[in-house]
Each structure stands twice: as structure tokens, then as C-alpha cells.
Amino acid sequence: METTFIEIMRQALDEEMTRDASVYLIGEDVAAGGAFGVSRGLVDKHGPLRVRNTPISEAAITGLATGAALCGLRPVLEIMFIDFATLAMDCLVNQSAKYRYMSGGQLSVPMVVRTQAGAAGGAAAQHSQSLESWFIHVPGLVVVAPSSPVEAYGLFKSSLRLDDPVLFIEHKRLYAMKEHLPADAAAIPLGRARVAREGSDVTVIAYSAMVRTALEAAQQLAQEGVSVEVIDLRTLAPLDIETLVRSVTKTRRVVIAHEAVECGGVGAEVAARLGAAAFDELDAPIMRVGCPFAPIPFAPELEQALLPGREQIVRAVRELTS
């Protein structure tokens, strides 16, 4: 049976809460399911003390989760939209990320900040952003961006069991995606990328919802006789450069694709790292596909005009292979 991203995430949360009594869900409306219903029903099973609605106070609930994590709980905090992580930024950047280091390893902050990102039609400029690159810049934070329901299941389990603060970014457009969760689905190790499709001509590196788009592009290009390898980064911090170098050594050409604004995005970091680690393996400049430098507009026509998709990836690959 196939189930949606939302249902599979709910199952992962439920299983982890059942397994570990120190796991708490905290966030705005989480008892009612959160913004997209991921935690719906969990309050009935685990009670309002473990599935806690909070006031609309992103700064304080992030601090609260951090303090609780420092003192023995393992909170899963929901920040409704990654756009509102700006209000939690001080705590995430200056506190959650730093207590292990500042204490010389005495302390740890085992918590997961679940949030969702991306544009999915009509949410406009304050509810559609992809801000992940801000967080990979902060030593001490782990950033995870799953590309499918089954991936989310396994990556969430590892994130929750890690003794560090993890920003777990779910993409709105993936919420309705359905997959079959194998009975033996297990935790997926963090910090390792996945070859989502093997190929030999060009490597397309993507993460989150863009992996699907890249796979569609690869499908289309296969019909033209171009063999595309698609790599799903899974974890944006730390980056698994070895897997990327291995692929590039084979294909010698790279496209990095993400929905986030291209300027200063994760792709820039990946490109710089590959340029340093695999310069001799490359036969062509590294190409980036990302959002043009503009906020996400409301009108669907405008939103579509900006958002990078299959066409942009196909075009980039063709440019590299022509």
C-alpha cells in the first residue's frame, strides 16, 4: 500500500515517540496536526504533555526546545514555515548550534527542528522560500532535506537519534507524494549522499523536491541518448563530497539543481568544493540551476516563470553535452 509523505512522517514520529519517552513534539498547533497535518492524531495517543501546542513565539519555543534538550529531553520542534525560522535564528545560530562547542564537549543539544519549505502554488513571498543555505553556513547545525516519503522516514529516524541539532526540511510539494514504505525500512545514515539514478554522461546533483524533477529530466534526456546520473544529497550539512567526486570522475560534467535562489545557494558551495576536489576530472564548467534573484510572487503564472524545473535542468545538461 502506498502512503503519503505526511502519513509516513507521522508514522516515523509515532514510532520514535513510542520508542523513546524523552521525545516531545513542540510547536504551534502541533496537537491539531501542525500546519500540514503531519502530527495529526498523535496527541490522542501520546497525550497533550508530549504533543504540546505553543504560543506563536518562534524565538522562545526554539530556546525552550534547546534548553529542554540540554536538560534531558529530545524535542522535535515544528517551525511552521522555514520563512519564520528568521525569528528563531538567534537561538539556532548563536545557541543551539554552539553549546556543544562552547562547553568543550560537555553538553549536547539533541533536537530536531522540523520545518517545511519551497513553493507549491500561491503561497507568495513569505511562505515559499528555500532558505537552507543560511543554515549550512553555521558550524554545529546538521541540515537534512529528504527527497521522498521513504527517504524522509529513514532520514528523520537518524536525525532524531543524533545528539545534535538538526534542521529537517520537508518540501511542501512532496507532502502529497505517495510511496510504499517497505516493512524493513530503517534509519538512513546522515552525511551520505545517494545515487538516485546511475548514468555516465552528466551528473545532476539535487536534493529535496528537486530530486524528482532531476529524475524526470534524466528520463527525458535518456530518450535523446544522454545518460544522466542523479545524486540526492540528502544531507546538506555535512556534505558528502566523496560521493560527488566519485560520480564526477565518471561523468566529467556537473549540473547542480535546487529550488533556492541560485545566488549564494547550496549549489555555490558544492561547486566550489568540487572545483577544488575534482578540477582535473571536469571537462566543462560546473552549471547551476536555481531560482532567479527575485522573491516568489503570488500569481501562478509568475511563480512558474521563476521556479526552476525539468526544462531548466534539461537545458543545462544539453548545454554540457552539445
Binding site: Y24, L49, R52, T54, P55, S57, A59, A60, I61, T62, G63, L64, A65, T66, G67, A68, A69, L70, C71, G72, L73, P75, D90, C91, N94, Q95, K98, Y99, R100, Y101, M102, S103, G104, G105, Q106, L107, S108, P139, G140, V142, R161, L162, D163, D164, P189, L190, G191, T235, P238
Partner: protein, 342 residues
């Protein structure tokens, strides 16, 4: 940790903080450590009274003015001083310095150098206490914290969820004449009194004179017991007057180290210091009172002071002798054991 209500222990605890801070200033002036730092001189009685009420299950959260809180909680002065000097013998092997000193085994998980930054954390610790069925939290912060939004958000949560936390606002910018009076206007907060703010959020509050060690002891004894038994937050504003050495950007010792004789007839040359000592020094005022009442003799106080000085001189030696951390340690503890879990 000190025994409650023992005058000798109380005096010793205050003297230890004062003598530690003086050494800190001297080491800074001597160029032994870089960066800015903050000393707790003039506020010793607050940390001493608050920490006397705490046990091993309790947590303390602090800010940049943390030396007194940590010493009162039982931290070792030699390891603290080594940390301040950025040495390998420090609690964080030089990674925190003065600003972020934390001692996990003493229940001091975090010192945040962000104004108001520790309040949400402390509130989260109180949630952990409540859920785990043990412990309370004492959160120390300065008066400026009330100007930060996170402070309100944290108090809303603590009040709404009935969390066992004592918010200790150390208001060290009060002129002496206003310390005991009910009303004053804070220069940066448009509230008649700081305590009006948490009161509006249904948190019970009170104000206490930070120069009166007995009043502080009574106040913390009661408030911590209430937080413990009722499991609800309290807010106390401790009204202190800034020590003249804390007026410059970098602390200075006006007229050298504090002298016991100043409590018993002699006076320093500087008028502002003399006035502060007479009106606002919690240590001096308590010594005078307890010696007059026969609780301690002057000789006993003298002996306690000598012991404190010797202890802090030892801490300085330990810190100076401690090696610097190896450069590669700068890469450690960024994340959980790299490789193992990731």
C-alpha cells in the same frame, strides 16, 4: 555548596567571589587574557543566597556576568580562571572563555552572552524538570533582558505551562536611594517598575534589596521553596547599585583591592567608592552587621578572607601554569563524534 544560614559560610562565599573577580581584573590588566569580561563585584549576595537553596537536580542559567553564579554553585575557581585565560585546564579547555562558561556536572548547562538569550533556554530546562519530576531552574539575567522580545515569550510559556522556574532579574543600575522605594522609572523600559511586566503575565513577583544579604537569603529561601512546591514560576527583581569599578568599559579596581578595614572604620580615598561601600556593598554591610551582632568575630572574618585570597592566588597560579590547548582542538566538538554518528 554552602550550608544555608551559616554566617561564616555566607561570608566565605561572598569573599571568594570578590577575591576571584579582583584577580580576574588584575590578570586582564596584566594582559593575561584578551577580550572583554564582566565582574560580579557588588552583586555577590544574590548568587550566594540563590544558590544556597539549590540541590543537585536543579539548574542554573546565567549570562556574561556569570563568575559569581558559577562560584556560588560550586565551580572550582582554578578551572574557571584557566577557562578565562583560555587554557586547557578550563572547563571547556578554552573554548568558552569568560562569556559562555558552563559546568555540566553542576547543573549549569548554559551561559548565554546574548541579552535575554538564556530565558527561553531556562524555560525549556524547567519543562524538562517538570516532565522528569525533579529539579527547579534559577535563571539569572540583567535588567536589559526585559528589553528583548525573547524574554516576554519565555515568561509567557513559563506562566502558561506552569513551569518551575525562578526568574532572577539582577537590576544593577539602581541609585541607592531608590533601592528600597517602591516606585522608580527605569531609563530604558517604559514601566513604572520592572516587576510590573511579569505581573501582567500572571507571574508572581517581588523586589528585594541586593545589598541586604539577610533579605536576599529570606527572599530566595521562600521563593525557591514556592517554585519547588507549587511548580509555578516566580520573578524577583534584585535591586543593586553598580560598583564604581564597573562603570568603565573595562572593569577597574578603584583604590586597589577591597579592604576588610573599610568595613571597620577606615575609608578609601575615592569618594564615589566610599559612598558605594557605605550604602550599597552587600559584603561590607553584612560583615558589619554580623560582627556587631556577634555572629562572627573580626578575627574570624579576617581568617576567612585570608583563606579566600590564598585560594584565588592558587587559582591564578593554576591558570597561569595550565598549558594552552593544542591548535587542533579548535576542530573538536563541532558536532557529535564526527564519523561515528554521521
Amino acid at each position: 555548596m554552602q550550608r544555608k544560614n551559616d554566617p561564616g559560610e555566607r561570608v566565605a562565599a561572598m569573599l571568594r567571589i570578590r577575591r576571584f573577580e579582583e584577580q580576574c581584573i588584575l590578570l586582564s590588566k596584566d594582559g593575561q587574557f584578551p577580550g572583554h569580561y564582566h565582574v560580579y563585584i557588588g552583586q555577590e549576595a544574590t548568587a550566594v543566597a540563590a544558590c544556597a537553596e539549590l540541590g543537585t537536580d536543579d539548574f542554573v542559567f546565567s549570562n556574561w556576568r556569570n563568575h559569581g553564579h558559577l562560584l556560588a554553585r560550586g565551580a572550582a575557581p582554578d578551572r574557571m580562571m584557566a577557562e578565562i585565560l583560555g587554557k586547557a585546564g578550563g572547563y571547556a579547555r578554552g573554548k568558552s572563555g569568560t562569556l559562555h562558561m558552563a559546568v555540566r556536572e553542576l547543573g549549569v548547562p548554559a551561559t548565554s552572552a546574548l541579552v535575554g538569550g538564556s530565558l527561553p533556554l531556562a524555560t525549556g530546562a524547567a519543562l524538562a524538570c517538570k516532565r522528569q519530576g525533579r529539579g527547579v531552574v534559577v535563571a539569572f539575567f540583567g535588567d536589559a533582558a526585559l528589553e528583548e522580545g525573547a524574554c516576554y515569550e519565555a515568561m509567557i510559556l513559563a506562566s502558561l505551562w506552569k513551569l518551575p522556574i525562578l526568574f532572577v532579574c539582577e537590576n544593577n543600575s539602581i541609585p541607592p536611594a531608590q533601592r528600597q522605594r517602591g516606585q522608580y522609572t527605569s531609563s530604558t523600559l517604559p514601566a513604572a517598575q520592572l516587576v510590573d511586566v511579569p505581573q501582567a503575565l500572571q507571574i508572581r513577583t517581588e523586589a528585594v534589596d541586593g545589598a541586604d544579604a539577610d533579605a536576599l537569603a529570606e527572599c530566595f529561601d521562600r521563593l525557591v521553596a514556592e517554585v519547588r512546591s507549587e511548580g509555578t514560576p516566580r520573578f524577583v527583581e534584585v535591586r543593586c547599585t553598580r560598583w564604581p569599578g564597573n562603570f568603565p568599559l573595562w572593569p577597574e579596581l578603584p583604590c586597589g583591592q577591597w579592604q576588610l578595614d573599610w568595613a571597620f572604620g577606615q575609608s578609601p580615598d575615592r569618594a564615589d567608592l566610599a559612598t558605594w561601600l557605605e550604602q550599597s556593598d552587600p559584603l561590607l554591610l553584612y560583615l558589619r552587621k554580623i560582627v556587631a551582632a556577634g555572629g562572627l568575630t573580626r578575627e574570624q572574618v579576617q581568617a576567612l578572607d585570608e583563606r579566600a585570597r590564598a585560594e584565588m592566588a592558587g587559582a591564578v597560579r593554576f591558570a597561569l601554569d595550565s598549558p594552552f590547548p593544542a591548535p587542533e582542538e579548535a576542530y573538536q566538538h563541532v558536532r557529535a563524534e564526527q564519523g561515528a554518528t554521521l
